[in-house]
């Protein structure tokens, strides 16, 4: 054991000086999920499957908008998996702490024009 200890005297520390040095997450890391509202069809699957009720849905169908409660999210990736149009992606963001819970509600809204166009097209269909 003493030999091992002496060997480590000359080595650099195994830990990182975190806020200054960051370890990039691996590919496929499950970080904060984001919604691509242009793709979303409002099928409610992500909202229904979320194990911790972190997804709040306002409105229905193609006019639906989302509130993502980051403070409740488990980062399990079930919403990403279940989405039939791949509108949800798990990003590699992991520094998500905040002093205020209100700040941790992230809204995903449709652009005015886009939503109008979409609703019009849906009527035509």
């Amino acid at each position: 054991m003493v030999r091992e200890l002496l060997k480590h005297l000359l080595k650099r520390p195994a830990t990182l000086k975190y806020p200054f040095e960051k370890r990039p997450p691996f590919k496929g890391f499950r970080g904060r999920p984001i919604w691509d509202m242009k793709r979303c069809t409002g099928c409610e699957l992500c909202y229904k499957d979320c194990p911790s009720e972190a997804i709040e849905m306002i409105g229905k169908g193609l006019e639906a908008e989302f509130k993502h409660h980051l403070d409740r999210c488990l980062f399990c990736g079930q919403c990403e998996e279940v989405c039939p149009v791949n509108a949800i992606t798990m990003t590699e963001e992991y520094e998500l702490a905040s002093y205020d819970r209100a700040e941790m509600i992230i809204e995903f809204k449709r652009e005015e024009k886009a939503s109008k166009n979409l609703s019009r097209s849906s009527k035509n269909v």
């Binding site: 890391f29 194990p51 488990l74 399990c76 990736g77 079930q78 279940v82």
Partner: protein, 392 residues
Amino acid sequence: MSYPTIRIPFGPQHPFHIEPEYFMFEVDGERVVSVTPRIGYVHRGIEKAIEDRTFIQNLYLIERICGICSNAHTTCYTQAIEEILGVEIPPRARFIRTIIAELERIHNHYLWLGLAAHEIGFETLFMYTWRDREIVMDLLEMVSGNRVHYAMNTIGGVRRDITPEIVEKIRKGLDALEERMRYYKKIAMTEPTISKRTAGIGILKPKDAIALCAVGPTLRASGIKRDVRADDPYIAYDEIPFNVITYDGCDVISRLFVRCDEVFESVNIIRYAMDRLPEGKIRIKVPRRVPEGEAVSRVEAPRGELIHYAKTNGTTKPERYKVRSPTLGNIPSLCKMLVGGYIADIPIIIAGIDPCFSCTDRMAFVNVNNNKQWILSGEELRRYAIKWYQKE
């Protein structure tokens, strides 16, 4: 024994253990005379919560019963539900589940070795093992996308595939882990700091181990060859050759050696599984509505045998769910080990079974009165009196 024994409460909050648990020790001088465990301080009502979530949502809830054996719990859950559904998962999914399960076992045993070293005051070993534990945690993050809650299992298979690049990286990581564990085992065999604190401590004789239903490495360190992976093979264990590790020492150092050797076995299992990873799909589509039925499934979690029971009623939610975690199975034998030992050995003996009280305390469970078998004569009345006074 003309002097009265002294009662020492231990916990629920105690610096030696991070989880709240209460033990009442009766001591005569430095010797422990009897032990009364009181579990239930981390009761979170998970079993009831399972009943009002869908089968998909429960995957992530059941994973959170325990942080360390998260994959063992979901494997057990998915097995039970797949049995009720009557589906068989693709061979590739079975092999991937095996790889994750064994990586998790390596992770758990490294973690335990560090904690045991910390318990006996060997901080250097604690730091080294926990540094090396990062290797396996990084591997798991690379495969699954998260360090602790892997979320790899789903009903009908696994959620992510293992690509050839990942296989290469796992191989490299395993080489490092195997080499380091070989070194730690050598230290455990030669270093007097470890053998003085652990050899001959916490004796659990084979007869008692069977009578008190010990599980996992605790049982195997008493020389009994029993392992769910070998006795009742699940996932891909029937296709992979491996040895069940046993030691005859019946003490804490044997439990340490069992865990060290299990790491080598796990490394071999993963290598074998990666060499023969079958091609094909990783998951099959299963209906969300599960027909009426019930199933019991068993898994060898890193800490021992884990049992799940599921009852379904044809809806999207289970009707009843029950979990028997390995630590609950080990508590009676833990009490047996503690009796007759010194007060100073209590932390390492408790740490020796690798307790996880979060696993144990999903339900209120008070088993105070069943411990009569190792109460000394005349003690029973005294204990009754003590309890009676406590109520007042």
